[in-house]
Structure formats: C-alpha cells, structure tokens
C-alpha cells in the first residue's frame, strides 16, 4: 500500500510518463516519437512503451537526430542527479558528459524490457559516474561516532515548504562526504553496510556521517526558511 492507501500496482499505473522528462511542449517533440504527453495522459495509457522503444529503435538504426532526442529527453534528469553529488559545476559538466558518452557507446547492447528501463539505466550510469568523481576527489568521510538524529515535525514541515530546486541547492552546499552518503542512503536507498562497502568505510561511519548530514541539512533548511520568511 502506498502512502495514500492506494494499491501499489494502481499507483504505479497512475503516472504514465516518468516525471523526470523535460517539460517541453508536445509540439516541440519530433513526431516520430509518438503521441504527445498530454494525449497519452488523457488516454490513460500507463505503459508508454512506444516512446522509449521507438527512441531505442531510432538510435540503433543510427539516425542522426536520435542522439539529440535522447539527450534532450534525459539531460535534465542526469544533470539533477549529478548536481546532487557534485557541487562544482565543472565536475557536473564532466559527469554529465561522461554519462552520455557511456550511454551512446553501450546503447547498442541495451536490451529493452519495459518502459522506464532505459531511464533507470541512464540514471544508474549517472550515479556511478558522479560517485566515481567523488571518489577520485578523495573527499570521503573519516571514521567517527555520532548519535542518531530525528527530525521534528516542525522541521519536516519546513522541508515540505521548500521547493525542489531550493532543496537541491542546499544539498549541494553540504560537505562532499555528507552529500555522498546522503545521496546513497536517501536516493539510492542503500543500506549503511552497502554504503560502507562502496566507499571503503565502516558501517558505523556511514551511519554517523549520515546523521551529521541530516542534522546539518535540517539546520540549513531552517535557516533558509527563516530567510524566506523575512
């Protein structure tokens, strides 16, 4: 059951197109990609198979415009993922570039199974490339101990009020190590043991660093909310 008590399968069918798509007008999209987003939503077609499938077919056929179409479709998502991990814009640019280079080089071997699979694959590449750059910068947390942090209801309300772009900027302001663990724990939904294996630290360090990250992020959210209220 989901948060609003809807069956999981029904909730899955509610959103027809991944919400990470760039918000371009339907008429700006190439006609060969199929029906517009709004038309598909009105039709209630939960499985937008032709869209990614058609894109893959055009890519594998070697059409010149297919690469640009894929970039246009997923660049925003990739950029958001990389910006979650990396604070320096040049690093973000490098990570985005490396991500799409790898995608285009290995797209021929990608096996389409269902709608959303291509998006998830690209998202995973983007996460890996970002994490690789983080590790290359040697900015990993040191071992430490920290008590668990639990946000209050008021703090969570403040988090709800902020826009996603503002929250993203706050996340980018976190120290590198904190931000990395936060991304892996919250967005990649890794366990602390898995994070410890990835980063080469102990699970205790991962847990304590995450608590510090959460506490610091919450503090930044509170200050930001106060500044907005003025």
């Amino acid at each position: 059951m989901t948060a609003d008590n809807k069956p999981r399968e029904e909730a899955r069918q509610m959103w027809t197109i991944p919400r990470c798509l760039p918000t371009t007008a339907p008429e700006e999209r190439p006609s060969e990609l199929g029906a517009s987003r709004s038309a598909q939503e009105e039709a209630g077609n939960s499985m937008d198979i032709p869209t990614e499938k058609a894109l893959l077919q055009h890519l594998k056929a070697g059409e010149a415009s297919a690469s640009k179409d894929l970039y246009t479709r997923f660049a925003g998502m990739v950029c958001a993922i990389c910006r979650r991990y990396l604070s320096d814009e040049e690093d973000v640019k490098d990570a985005v570039q490396e991500t799409f280079i790898r995608v285009f080089h290995h797209i021929a071997g990608f096996e389409y199974r269902q709608e959303g699979g291509l998006q998830a694959w690209i998202a995973r590449i983007a996460s890996n490339e970002s994490l690789k750059m983080v590790r290359a910068a040697h900015l990993l947390p040191m071992d430490s101990l920290e008590d668990d942090f639990e946000a209050t209801d008021e703090e969570m309300a403040e988090l709800e009020q902020l826009s996603p772009e503002t929250i993203l900027e706050l996340v980018r302001q976190l120290p590198e190590g904190y931000r990395t663990i936060l991304n892996l724990y919250v967005f990649e939904e890794k366990s602390h043991k898995e994070i410890a294996d990835i980063l080469g630290i102990s699970p205790m360090t991962s847990a304590s660093q995450y608590c510090r990250a959460k506490r610091l992020l919450q503090k930044m959210i509170t200050e930001k909310q106060k500044s907005l209220d003025r």
């Binding site: 989901t2 948060a3 999981r8 909730a11 991944p18 919400r19 990470c20 798509l21 918000t23 690469s67 640009k68 970039y71 660049a75 925003g76 998502m77 950029c79 958001a80 910006r83 979650r84 640019k93 985005v96 570039q97 280079i101 790898r102 080089h105 290995h106 071997g109 990608f110 096996e111 389409y112 199974r113 269902q114 959303g116 699979g117 998830a120 694959w121 995973r124 590449i125 890996n128 690789k132 590790r135 040697h138 639990e150 946000a151 969570m156 988090l159 709800e160 772009e165 929250i167 993203l168 996340v171 724990y185 919250v186 967005f187 990649e188 939904e189 043991k193 898995e194 294996d197 990835i198």
Partner: protein
C-alpha cells in the same frame, strides 16, 4: 521501534523527478567527444580470452636456454686442453714460466740441502728441473715445457694429460750438468712415481690453473644478467561481497523495481564473487656487485594479473586481465658459497605501473591504471653450471601496499604473499 523515515521520504519525493536542464553548449561538447577518436570515448574492446600455454612456453624457453648454455659451456671446457698443448708462445709463457721458475727454485733449494726428500721426493716439491734441463735446442723447448706443464697438472684433471715426449730430458733430478747421457730408466721411474704428480690442494699454482678459486659468487661473478619467471601464492582467491562496488560496471537492469514515489532503482540483494589467479611475472635484471659480499640488482619485470568477477543478481561474469610493468631494486648479500653452490639473501622493493587492463564487459567504466609499490625479501640458492651460466631459485615473501584505486587485482586481494622466482643468471665477466 522503526526509525522515522519521514524526513527521507519527503526529501526523496521532493527531489525525485527533478529536472535541471543543462546549458545548450554541453551537448556540443558531448557531440564533439563522441565524434573524436579519443581514448576516453573509445569503446572497450571485447577480449576473447584465448588460453595460451604461458607456463608451458616459459618452461620450454628455460629448458632451451639451459641446454644451450650447458652445451656452450662444455665446448669451452673441451677447448681448454687444446690451448694447453699449443707450442709455448711469448704470450703463454707468462704464467707457465712463473710456475717453472718456482719449480726450479724448489729444486735448487732441495739440491742445496740434500735430505731424504731427495730419495723420496715430496709430492709438494714438484718436478725437479734445472735450467740446464730446460735449456737445449729450441725444438725441444716446447716438449720440455709440455712435460713440465703435464707434471704440474693435478691427477684429477678433467681432461687427459698430454703424453710426455718420447725424447727424454737430459737433466738429472739432482741438477746434474746437461750433456750427460739421458738416463731413460731413471726417467721412466720418475715418470711412474707419484713424486711429480702435484696434488692440487698442495700446489696453489696448479690449483689456480686447474680450477677457479672458490670465492663468493658475487665477487667472482662480476656483472650478471638474469632472466626469470616468478609467481606468488595468491591462490584462487574468492572474496564474497554483498554490495556493488564503484569499480563495478554499470549493471543494466532492464526491470526496475520502482518504489511508489521514486524512479530511483532499489538495488536487489546481490552477491559479488572475486576470483584472482596467481599472478605470473617474467623479468630481466642486472646484478652489480659492490663488494665481495654485497651487490644490487635492478631491471624490468612484466606481470599479468587475471581476475574473474561473478555477480549473482543479475547473473553476470566479468573477466579482467591487468598488465603491469615494474622496476625492482634489491640488495643482495651472499651468505654461503661452496663449489658450484651459492646461497644469498635479497631484500628490496618494486614499483609497478599498470599499463593495460582488458575486460570482456562492455559496460565497464574506463579502467583505472594505478601504480603499485611493494616490498620483497627472499633467500636464494644458485647452482653454477659453468663460468657463465647458473640457475637460481628464490623463495621469499612480498607485501603489496594498498593503493587508492578502484581496480581490483590480486595485489589488493592478497597483499601479503609467498613468492617464488626461478631464473637463469648469465655472467658477463666472471672469472
């Protein structure tokens, strides 16, 4: 009590689906990178792992080198007697002349003090020659010198001693003046007796002539060149991991497990298994003696590290082969030497650089090519076939320092290990 995950849920929901379009210029750069044939954009090549019989080839090469060296060495040894029967020239007279002069002095000393040694010549006295015995026509000089050389040769000479000349010498053992009638019978008696058989341990000159001095290998070896193969007992390392690691390639998961509020992929339970084959190395080095006991050795080494990574979910297997080039630097100390055997100790370090990594996984990230530092200590045994060739075996220990690299090899999986080096040593200016 379950932890409150509302903070994480809100954060995830807020940033899930967020799209921040990049500047338009980024696509231009990506397009340029895709079109340019740079190594970073080059598609990793699929490597077909053809099993090559490296071990057999190496063993065959070593055996061939040993056979060639032994044959060449034996040819040199066979050539020695030929040189000894050449007519004495001015160049050859140097050492032989000194031996004869020493024999003459001993004979004169014995003649000056006739003792029972005169009747029973001591084996250490050598041949009793006089100047008159050695003088004579030039035609007989070579034969007389040959006789003297023959008499000085040890009984255990590896080659048959030349036959003494049929023409007898005109000198008596006790320094009788030349010109007297040759006493063939007495001479034959002398030839048959062991008085003129010089025992090597008591005649340093003959010993020096017959066999090189027993000295430490480093000292007598001079600069030596070594060819070797080595490996270490990393064994069939199997390391189980239960998480994805950064160096791991992107695992394409076409069937995503979507949560209700996130497109983020929830990683399923998976295990990763690493298998590292024992690294194999070949190398060439130079050993330079510093003192009679100490020396240094350096050269080049080439190592191959093969690994296999197996993932359970999704089931994938990736083969990796890393190639390293290294420069070792060791200090050698000779501890024991006897006849053809030599035992020594070696300690030092090695710097290696990964020059290439091959993998059969098309989704692999651009491989990292790290440096690798290591320390080594070994005890070696060496057997000399001849002056120029010896075979050595060096069991020892090595420790490979941890490097900050995502590349997983046997060096990282098994940093401390037992090493074994087998090689041939070629003496360049051994005496």
């Amino acid at each position: 009590m379950m932890k409150d995950k509302r903070f994480e849920d809100i954060l995830r929901r807020k940033l899930d689906g967020l799209s921040t379009p990049p500047p338009e210029s980024w696509w231009t750069d990506i397009e340029s990178a895709l079109q340019s044939p740079s190594p970073a954009s080059a598609e990793p090549q699929r490597v077909r792992f053809v099993r090559r019989p490296l071990w057999w080839m190496s063993a065959a090469c070593v055996a061939a080198m040993v056979c060639i060296a032994v044959v060449v060495g034996r040819q040199e040894e066979v050539a020695l007697p030929t040189a000894s029967v050449r007519p004495a020239s001015n160049d050859n007279m140097g050492s032989l002349g000194r031996h004869l002069q020493q024999a003459i002095k001993e004979a004169e000393a014995q003649a000056a003090s006739p003792t029972e040694d005169a009747a029973h010549p001591s084996p250490t006295r050598g041949r009793h020659y006089t100047e008159e015995a050695l003088s004579g026509s030039q035609a007989t000089d070579s034969r007389r010198l040959l006789s003297a050389a023959t008499a000085m040769a040890p009984a255990e000479a590896p080659y048959p001693a030349p036959q003494p000349p049929t023409e007898t010498a005109s000198g008596k053992p006790n320094g009788a003046p030349a010109g007297q009638k040759a006493k063939t019978d007495e001479r034959e008696k002398e030839d048959e007796s062991d008085a003129y058989i010089v025992h090597a341990p008591h005649h340093p000159s003959a010993e020096a002539y017959a066999r090189p001095p027993q000295s430490p290998a480093i000292h007598r070896g001079g600069i030596t060149a070594n060819l070797y193969v080595s490996g270490f007992s990393a064994g069939h390392n199997v390391i189980q991991q239960n998480a994805f690691t950064p160096y791991q390639s992107v695992i394409a998961q076409p069937e995503a497990n979507f949560t209700e509020n996130s497109y983020a992929l929830k990683a399923p339970e998976s295990s990763l298994c690493e298998k590292h084959l024992p690294p194999f190395a070949v190398g060439a080095s130079l050993r330079i003696p510093l003192t009679s006991r100490w020396g240094i050795e350096t050269g080049l080494a080439y190592s191959i590290l093969a690994s296999t990574f197996t993932q359970s979910l999704p089931q994938r297997e990736e083969h990796q082969r890393a190639h390293f080039i290294g420069i070792p630097l060791n200090v050698m100390a000779n501890v024991f030497s006897r006849k053809a055997w030599n035992v020594y100790l070696s300690a030092g370090g090695k710097w290696e650089k990964c020059v290439e990594v091959y993998t059969d996984n098309p989704d692999a990230n651009a491989p990292d090519k790290p440096h690798q530092w290591s320390l080594h200590a070994a005890a070696g045994g060496e057997y000399r076939f001849n002056r120029h060739l010896s075979l050595y075996l060096e069991p020892g220990f090595g420790y490979y320092f941890e490097q900050d690299t995502p590349l997983r090899t046997a060096y990282q999986a098994h940093p401390a290990n037992f090493t074994l080096k087998l090689g041939l040593r070629f003496g360049m200016n051994r005496r």
